[in-house]
Amino acid sequence: MGKQSNEISIVLDKLSKRYGNSKKLALDSVSLHVNSGEVYGFLGPNGAGKSTAIRLLMNFIQPTAGSAKILGNDIVNDSVEIKKSVGYLSGDFAVYPKMTGAQYLQYMGELQNPASKAYVQKLIKRLKAEPNKKLGELSRGNRQKFGIIQAFMHQPQIMILDEPTSGLDPLMQEEFYKLIEEAKARGTAVFMSSHIMSEVQRTCDRVGIIRDGKLVEERTIAEMKTEASQTFDITFAGDVPLASLKTVKGIKVTNSVDNSVTVHMHGKLAPLFAVLAKSDVTKIDARNLDLEEIFLGFYESKDKKS
């Protein structure tokens, strides 16, 4: 499970950002924290404010209100100090097209000493990167490999990753997940945005859902798994006893079509089965883990915190 501890590595305190004279805040008073050795998934639909939060943490843009600290240092005033310990990969990783991969890594390595040359070579080998080709000649996925290498090469204490696996093939995604696990084991705090739910399930310990600039939900993956494991698709011979079902404590009816219903259950299951025992049930499916459905529910549902 890695070296997850209660030591807070990243903390956002009512962090807000307004672009220009826009009436709407791109990031609206977001507060959260990431512990060392924890992988925090920052999720949300396009334009929700994920990249804005990441760009604020990297001090590419300055906050309108609120503050944030990384390893106890203020993101605005101590940005240079912070970046000694940060590995960053942007959503649209940009390269110098005329440089080779090796030259690019040398350049970035001169600005931020890698852990060792041997470690960089190991990363190149693991990701099957092509260091002698010009970056402009590489496919998006192959360029992305150099993005990952430059983010990991100095074995940082903090990783800030914006959709890190975009363009990577499944084998390389798998290698990336292993790198994340290794970073976790070293105690690295990872703040990562992603649209790939399987990736989030696989790598994250906790997720925050952002919509319209606001953090609307924060859960551990373990909590989500519990919720997901208590999802039932029930088919009745006759009408769905919706009224009776809704009286069950901890139930949430998510879908009801004809004589079928989908319910999420929190807590004990006995009250649900007591109701079902009184009805003519023809089929019950306890569905396998499906976090994607829950994530999509968060994306679509109304703001729960406001």
Binding site: S79, K83, L111
Partner: protein
């Protein structure tokens, strides 16, 4: 910081070579014809001395085109060299930072432990080194060609004038860089 200067120069290596070749070519072509009218310089000079004041103003306020110093001034230092170095300086000033912003490669630099001031200074220094290198090539070609055509102007005078030319065009580049960094030229601002 030194790395940014080094890699800025490395990235512009090919274009710097081409700029140097162009400057050298222009200087050489303009100076190589000096021997063809060197012996008639006095008579040619007299014909220009009879020009009206307005015509002289049009020619830059001087009628000295055929003495060694007048020749090098009119052919190299008066328009040609400042113009070529000026174009280079302005293109460097406007492009060095704006290009990084446009291509979004600047994020890769700002993600490192490099201050904004450090980045701005390094890029400016990189541009100055490139401009300096092309100016130095220009000076070398001027000195060598002056010797070849037996111009008879002291090397120190050529070096001083070339240096002033470099400083003048560096000012143009600095203005372009300032505008670029504050977002008034192409690209957005990081300042």
């Amino acid at each position: 910081m030194n790395s940014i200067v080094k890699w800025t120069c490395k990235q512009r290596k090919t274009s710097t070579i081409w700029w140097s070749v162009a400057v050298a070519g222009f200087i050489f072509i303009n100076m190589i014809f000096y021997p063809t009218f060197k012996n008639d310089a006095e008579e040619l000079q007299k014909s220009f001395e009879n020009l009206s004041d307005s015509a002289l103003q049009f020619l830059g306020g001087s009628s000295d085109f055929f003495s060694p110093i007048g020749f090098i001034n009119s052919q190299v230092f008066f328009i040609m060299l400042p113009m070529i170095l000026g174009i280079l300086a302005i293109s460097l000033g406007a492009g060095l930072l704006a290009r990084e912003e446009q291509d979004k490669t600047i994020e890769g630099l700002l993600a490192r432990p490099v201050s904004r001031t450090g980045l701005l200074a390094s890029k400016a220094l990189g541009g100055t080194v490139i401009l300096g290198a092309v100016s130095l090539v220009a000076l070398l070609v001027i000195v060598v060609t002056a010797q070849a055509v037996d111009l008879g102007v002291p090397v120190s005078a050529l070096a001083q004038t070339s240096f002033v030319c470099f400083l003048l065009t560096l000012t143009f580049g600095a203005v372009a860089y300032l505008l670029s960094a504050t977002g008034r030229a192409k690209g957005a601002s990081i300042a």
